[in-house]
Amino acid sequence: MTSTKSAGAAARPHRWAAGAGRVVAGTTLLTAVTLLPWLSGTDPALTVLRARSADQDPTPAQLAAVREQLGLDEGPFTHLARWLGGLPRGDAGTSWVSGEPVLPQVASAFAVSTTLMLGALVVTLVVAALVSARTLRLGSRQEPPPGRPGTGAAFLAALPKFLLAALLATVFGVWLGWFPSSGWAGPASMVLPALALGVPSGAMIGGLVDQSLPAAFTEPWVRTWHACGFRPGRIALRALRGTVAGVLPQFLPTVVALVGGAVAVEKVFNIPGLGRLALDAAIAQDLPPLQTATLALALLGVAAGLLVQALRHALLGPALRDGGLAAPRRSAVRPPRSTRWVAGLCALTLLALVVAGSLRDPLHVDTAARLLPPSAAHPLGTDALGRDLLARLGHGALRTASLALAVTAVSVVAGLLLGLAGRVAAGLTEVMSTLPAVLVGLLTTAVAGPSVWGAAAAVCLVGWTPYAAQTAALSEQERASGHVLASISCGAGPTHLLRRHLLPAVLPAVLRNALLRLPTAVLVLASLGFLGLGEQPPTPEWGRLLAENQPYLELAPWTVLGSAGALVLLSVLAMSGAALGRRKA
């Protein structure tokens, strides 16, 4: 009785802290967005004029007219205040570019994107279930877990969404004609984009579930239940509860974030979604729609965060509060022999690519040798400018992989720190996880100007959220397990808890998550190139290789096959390498 009371009393300040964290994070974000036109050094009058009319001459008189019409001289805070003042009346202002009311536009785009996201969620769940089905079945029968290093999941999770989208549109939209190739006219238009978004997300979520399941099956209750003759289905469900509760927060940055972060797929399928609206508004520095879209995304993040939290608590039940969670045994999985082969093969292939590629010239343009299929002279073929693709792949490998690793490492550290900071940081995590990287990229450019490191900085700024969410969830579960309570009652201090219990419980899972997300980091880094962030062309870099060859997907498939394959290899190597490393540790 007393314990419940004290827990309830402790929960209240927590709730306050979390609420305050959300408000602070949301306010900071909105203020930053509001300041964008004033920070960027690019005259918003010019960008708005350009968005309205491509050939309009940027004469001083014209710019002055636009500035006066928009009231740009009043400064950012007057604008913010007016916009905020209108919100309670359901008035989010009018677009600077089109002069039309913003709220109906943003509302319809938000509805479109949310519908698409829910479709992607269904695909995600199905794919995740398929990925983790075998482990679940074996585990629930107390058979030794398959101990796969998750190569299948790594393979699917490494598929670039925009490439998958283009492929699906071509095959099922154009060749077979089963679904509309683009547009948003009915449920049929939803199938292909939902698949393009959902398959990689599902593989990622499924991979995480698959990897935490074996540990759950080593918990003591499983043997007892098994011995008592419980049916495997019940054991599986029970084991899933704990595992899913740990993975659930990943839905926020992986699936819910698609509402604002699916720009590339929205473009391929011509979907009038929120991602494109926000991007267009940001490029034109059209503040009212940008602010409204950011607010909508932040609120969505908070709402989804609260839902996830409620679901987790429902799944784990009173055990989470009363410290009754069982302690899973760690690193119980022995990777099979094949893992070593897989890892070795990936490493050798990549090494061969890098060595063979480095001996060739990645920049030499030969317009006569355009889009040549693979041959002895060009083992991976040539791109639209006749450049050797093997050379570009090999030269880009080191830069791409090291930058992606560095960005991921920084994100993981930031995520760990913020995740362990408790409920105060939860608001920040929720608000930031739905924010598209492009928006942060624009803010970074506005503050620091375009630079090589800008892209890395921007990706780090949003990239930490999955790890923070995971850390927070896992450490909460760990704190609520019996053995931690036991050590506390034995007088263990916070440092001891952190070193002996929290970090060992959290770190392996977070690292696996980070490795699954490595290809995403490569792609997001490249997607910011058009803002002048990151290495400039013609420097070879894998993300750029994929993006610049995407239009030739159908005409010359080998132009994207090489770089997509290399990305998959990198991802599989990382996963299987980690599995091997874990066994040795």
Binding site: R52, D57, G99, G529, P537
Partner: protein, 505 residues
């Protein structure tokens, strides 16, 4: 345990609820492959200002035959009658236009009053249409069907100017008190807009009272598809009948008989910054001009859909080739060694933008050509609006630039004046050359069309003499037209597309 399936079920239950948010073109009678004879068109640039003629959207109104001006642009580049059936020049600054009998889409008559109202609104617009940037019009109604238009200074190209889509004549109801303009139900063309869904769809019906007769197609269903591959996909999948601007990377994938190439008035060139940096030195500019070869781009980057440049004006400007003046008196090009010693190995900043897919590829080819001539090159490639201010401020040494050479006046002088005159607002090359200024001024003052064209070509030669700009290619536009459609207009100026004669077979 109960709440998990429940939560997911709740999330799933939301899907049909939200499915009401699909963008359906009101009623969508065209779902069955255009069986009703309506033409389904995919356009590239989504409306910026709800089809206001004072924005980018103006060309949509003329492409789809919704709005018309007093005049139209004929195939030969001269002004042709439209809402005005004839006109005379009373004196150097006064023109008299005789209107024809015509009706607006809302049923009201096209009167001199309505024309004056429309032109006054264009002149008073807060952001003036580009076509009026260098002229002030005063329109007066003489009687019911006579309009007198005066200009402050002599304007020999006034009839051409009035053909601009931005000066389309709309009914009084189009002009709202707050300055916004809506052409919905207010044009005079063969088709009237009946619905506009955000930036995604529009429906148009035939206007039965059109002065030029009834259009052959009963209506048009417009979809805006910004992505070029998606437009090509739509055409290949039979979801649209006409798709404009097929990217060259997709043109080869279209069925035979579907891609139609049109020479475009767009010229891609390498603009050199003459006011500072490496290219302030004319011998280095000459070296760059000698090194860069646009013909290498035609078959590679453009897949054959371009012509190697012969000057600023390409085949889409029909009179240019015959009147072209040979460029003489250029500086001697520095040799590769001289280039190396003069630049000291400092990389020049080569800029281009991502908005047109071909430009980054051109920049990479040009980089290699420049490097072979001894230059060191560093690229800077961004979205156009992200770099426009820097371009105008002269922060780059060179720019791969795609430019429309006949602006909305349909007159080449406007382009030369804005891009190469000493006080030009778009003078990215930052040239200040009195002989160019004189050549442009003398062309601008010329009344006789043929002599004007000759003087324009003299001005072109004066510009090229400075090597401030190196023309690379004249682009071609690929329009995707299904084999079931006939009568689509292939217009180099991209002002018309669907008109009276367009119909499904």
């Amino acid at each position: 345990m109960r709440s998990t399936p429940f939560g997911f079920a709740a999330a799933l239950a939301l899907i049909p609820l939200l499915a009401g948010c699909f963008v359906s073109g009101s009623g969508d009678p065209n779902e069955q492959g255009g069986s009703t004879g309506r033409v389904r068109v995919a356009l590239a640039v989504p409306p910026a200002q709800a089809l206001s003629p004072y924005s980018n959207d103006a060309t949509v109104l003329s492409k789809l035959s919704v709005a018309e001006g007093l005049t139209a642009l004929g195939a030969d580049g001269a002004a042709a009658p439209a809402l005005a059936k004839s006109w005379t020049r009373k004196d150097t600054t006064t023109w008299v236009f005789e209107l024809r009998q015509a009706k607006f889409h809302d049923g009201t008559e096209v009167t001199a009053e309505a024309v004056v109202n429309a032109l006054d609104h264009a002149g008073a617009a807060k952001a003036k249409p580009r076509v009026l940037s260098d002229v002030t019009l005063t329109a007066r109604a003489e009687d019911a069907d006579t309009v007198t238009i005066g200009t402050k200074t002599a304007d020999p190209v006034l009839p051409l100017r009035l053909a601009s889509p931005a000066l389309g004549i709309l009914a009084a109801k189009a002009y709202a008190p707050d300055g916004s303009v809506s052409p919905v139900g207010a044009g005079t063309g063969a088709f009237r807009i009946t619905g506009l869904t955000g930036k995604t769809k529009a429906t148009l019906d035939r206007f039965d009272d059109y002065w030029g007769g009834k259009a052959k197609a009963p209506g048009i269903d417009v979809t805006w598809i910004a992505d070029g591959t998606a437009r090509a996909n739509g055409l290949r999948a039979g979801e649209v009948d006409v798709a404009e601007w097929i990217p060259t990377s997709q043109a080869k994938l279209l069925d035979a008989g579907t891609p139609h190439e049109v020479p475009s008035v767009r010229t891609d060139s390498l603009v050199l910054n003459t006011a500072g940096g490496v290219f302030a030195d004319e011998s280095l500019r000459a070296a760059a001009r000698a090194a860069v070869d646009g013909s290498a781009l035609v078959d590679s980057v453009f897949g054959g859909y371009a012509d190697a440049a012969r000057g600023l004006f390409g085949p889409a400007v029909p009179w240019a080739a015959d009147k072209r003046v040979e460029v003489t008196g250029r500086a001697t090009a520095a040799t590769a060694d001289q280039v190396r010693s003069k630049t000291g190995g400092t990389p020049l900043r080569l800029a281009t933008y991502t908005n047109r897919a071909e430009l980054p590829e051109i920049a990479t080819v040009v980089q290699q050509q420049l490097e072979e001539a001894g230059f060191a090159v560093r690229q800077d490639v961004r979205e156009y609006t992200q770099m426009e201010a820097d371009l105008l401020a002269g922060s780059y040494d060179a720019l791969v630039f795609s430019r429309v050479t006949l602006l909305d006046t349909g007159d080449a002088v406007a382009y030369l004046a804005s891009d190469f005159a000493g006080n030009g607002v778009y003078n990215i090359a930052r040239v200040k050359d009195s002989s160019i200024d004189q050549a442009i001024a003398s062309a601008a003052a010329e009344d006789d069309p043929t002599r004007r064209q000759q003087k324009i070509m003299l001005a072109e030669a004066a510009v090229l003499r400075t090597d401030a700009v190196v023309p690379l290619v004249h682009e071609k536009v690929v329009q995707g037209i299904g084999t079931n459609v006939e009568g689509v207009r292939l217009d180099p100026r991209e002002r018309s597309l669907i008109d009276l004669d367009t119909r499904l077979r």
